[in-house]
Subunit: 420 residues, 2 copies
């Protein structure tokens, strides 16, 4: 019989007892931020659960990890502590366990309607890295910018290409994104133009949240890399294509990306995703030894992008894709990231890069969907080449279980006009 909570959870909810993702929230505007777990339409306040002494396993008993304003301390504790926490929370919320179910007073204090809380960034992000690990995305970008002959550079097939992004401008879902200003590619012999970006785009990504880090100088073995990953979130790597195109040679993207990156508030753990593991794409050429894993795993996560155009009530679906198309796995990304001795720290995040699929309706950014503006997109009465002020972009994602979903909720943001 499927595990069931005493809290009623709709079969379409992303947050049944099988999920239990972690976030950080404020129950009241003046409260201290604290960790919580999503269950149906509620947040379980882990500050209260810990204060009541309900984390009584050997690793978490007496720990102050849930009395912190971020999840950094908890994610640093590693998989044994994560398993213990999950078992405790799953038991506490199960339909057969009276401790919370039958204590109306404590229930009222520790289970708060998610509609009433403010969600915050789940960790203090020391560094944010962004990979470029979807072959479909790399191919499409290559064709758009360099033509059909060899669109993907040779190095792409040997190493998970990545760059460091800006940690300070990672924001939580729901935060408005101010249209960036910057220089765009000059036309003819003119100097470059300057002004608000005319090619503002989203990028559908997921990001891994680092658990225990590694010491500077000490690489992580690819077969042990999963123990350094706490879980996943949805991520929108907002991009100004015109700014990016002019600035990115030779040192890569900078201002075309650093004006904002949105993540979803709930970190879905690898434990919760375990039933949805699937094979990763075959890699040809074979990866070098340090990237050759014993088992190569992806996850079957359906992803969807919707745009709600400025002034419209209705959002339109503009892409349906899946995490499983990712070429370089998360564990390969992490092993590559550390192979030179680079240290990761608990709470760091690394994005997958845009998650485009093989089909025309499974592309992960407007640059691909509208082919750099050549094929405007119809949105139920509106048309778009790129994003306009007031447009809202909404990502969602979930895994389909037997009678339940393990989901990520949404990752959304509205474009605000540039400041004059």
């Amino acid at each position: 019989m499927a595990l069931k909570s005493f809290i009623e959870v709709h079969p379409d909810s992303h947050f049944p007892i099988q999920n239990l993702p972690y976030g950080v929230f404020k129950p009241e505007p003046e409260s201290q931020p604290r960790p919580g777990v999503a269950i149906g339409d509620y947040v379980l306040d882990l500050y209260e659960i810990a204060s009541a002494g309900l984390f009584d396993g050997p690793l978490l008993k007496g720990s102050d990890c849930f009395h912190q304003p971020t999840l950094n301390k908890f994610v640093a504790m590693g998989r044994p502590a994560w398993r213990e926490a999950r078992a405790t929370i799953q038991k506490l919320l199960s339909s057969t366990e009276p401790a919370l179910r039958d204590n109306a007073n404590f229930r009222g204090k520790s289970l708060i309607p998610v509609s009433k809380v403010e969600m915050l960034l789940p960790t203090n992000i020391g560094d944010y890295t962004d990979f470029f690990a979807s072959l479909h995305h790399a191919t499409n970008c290559g064709i758009i910018f360099r033509g059909k002959e060899n669109p993907v550079p040779l190095n792409w097939f040997y190493l998970p290409i990545a760059y460091h992004g800006r940690a300070s401008s990672v924001v939580i879902s729901g935060t408005g994104i101010v249209r960036p200003s910057g220089q765009a590619y000059p036309l003819g012999d003119s100097p470059p133009s300057f002004g608000p970006s005319q090619k503002l785009d989203f990028e559908l990504e997921m990001a891994a949240v680092v658990g225990p880090g590694n010491e500077l100088g000490k690489p992580v073995d690819v077969n042990e890399a999963a123990d350094h990953i706490f879980g996943l979130v949805l991520m929108n790597d907002w991009s100004a294509r015109d700014i990016q195109r002019w600035e990115y040679v030779p040192l890569g993207p900078f201002l075309g990306k650093s004006f904002g990156t949105t993540i979803s508030p709930w970190i879905v753990t690898l434990e919760a995703l375990e039933p949805f593991v699937c094979e990763a794409p075959k890699q040809d050429p074979p990866p070098l030894l340090y990237l050759a894993e014993e088992i190569s795993r992806n996850y079957d996560i359906s992803l969807q992008v919707q745009i709600k155009p400025a002034g419209h009530d209705q959002a339109s679906v503009v892409s349906n894709t899946n995490f499983k198309y990712l070429y370089w796995t998360l564990t390969q990304q992490l092993a590559h990231h550390t192979v030179n001795g680079c240290n990761l720290r608990p709470g760091d995040i690394f994005g997958t890069g845009t998650l485009s699929g093989p089909e025309p309706d499974s592309l992960g950014c407007l640059m691909e969907i509208t082919w750099n503006g050549e094929r405007p997109l119809s949105l139920n009465g509106a048309t778009r080449k790129f994003l306009e002020d007031g447009d809202e972009v909404i990502f969602s994602g979930f895994c389909k279980g037997n009678g339940y979903k393990v989901g990520f909720g949404t990752c959304s943001g509205k474009v605000l006009p540039s400041i004059p």
Copy 2:
């Protein structure tokens, strides 16, 4: 008459009373880290000075900014507080002021020989950015990699090119640097090779430490940018040229840089550098409006690189250059960094990029000095194309005043063998 301290300071010292740079140190191995100021061969313990109530100006009285384990809180307070602190410390250390001079007990407690303390990173670095702002360096790299025709891409002359570096692997002077392993450019049709880098290099840079930050979405005007810069340090942006060359297209440097970046421990403030302001190079084409400053300022800072080869007792000078050759000023760099709305936070750092000068003996990295290994360097009995295990690289820098120096001390690191 020149300002003089009651502490004897040798005329060649980098740390006379005219300097007063800030750092973070531990007086004893078990002590809490705390802010200090260098004076001659001593560190003035600001924790003790603050505890004694000696910061009695309107902005610092009662503040706990010097009771913090980093300088982030102090640098966030802005120039008026920095001026007040400098005036207080300069008075306290001056030869005519008895408060500290004549109190042997308090002097013993608050002035510690620098040889006895451990220096730590001065700030918690939220983000580390690296610019590419020396025209001589950009030109040399362009010729080496792309040939003599148009070595510098057109965008370089319109925008201060930069990329985000790795904040987690920024380390304090004296920390060993483990030789990174990684993939190198394939020869012919073979797959890329993997192993310890064969082209390990240093890069002579300086880095600015951000004072007050800016809000996400709100650019900083170039004419107000100096108020967001607390001071400068020396920086070695260690680089693995073989790893970098293979990975950097199309998203820029990643593992070729992220294994370690060394900074000097003492932040020399812009106030202390004020007497050494000089004109910045003329910019042609003229900068776009948002980069056009009313006054364009560089600093006349002599910089030197020495290498002490493995197994040798003596270091050899391999470069003498100057900060004043920098093409894009620090304030232009900061204005550009934020023009898209990107937020800087107090304690962030941004590097200038390699500071090569116009002369053959004023180049800022081995790639330029040995012309990518083609012209090995003679080092008093040893020869080098790139760095070998056990080599120590030592940067120093100072401004020459009338009878005194305002200096940065040294920024050093020794290459450790790669971990098998």
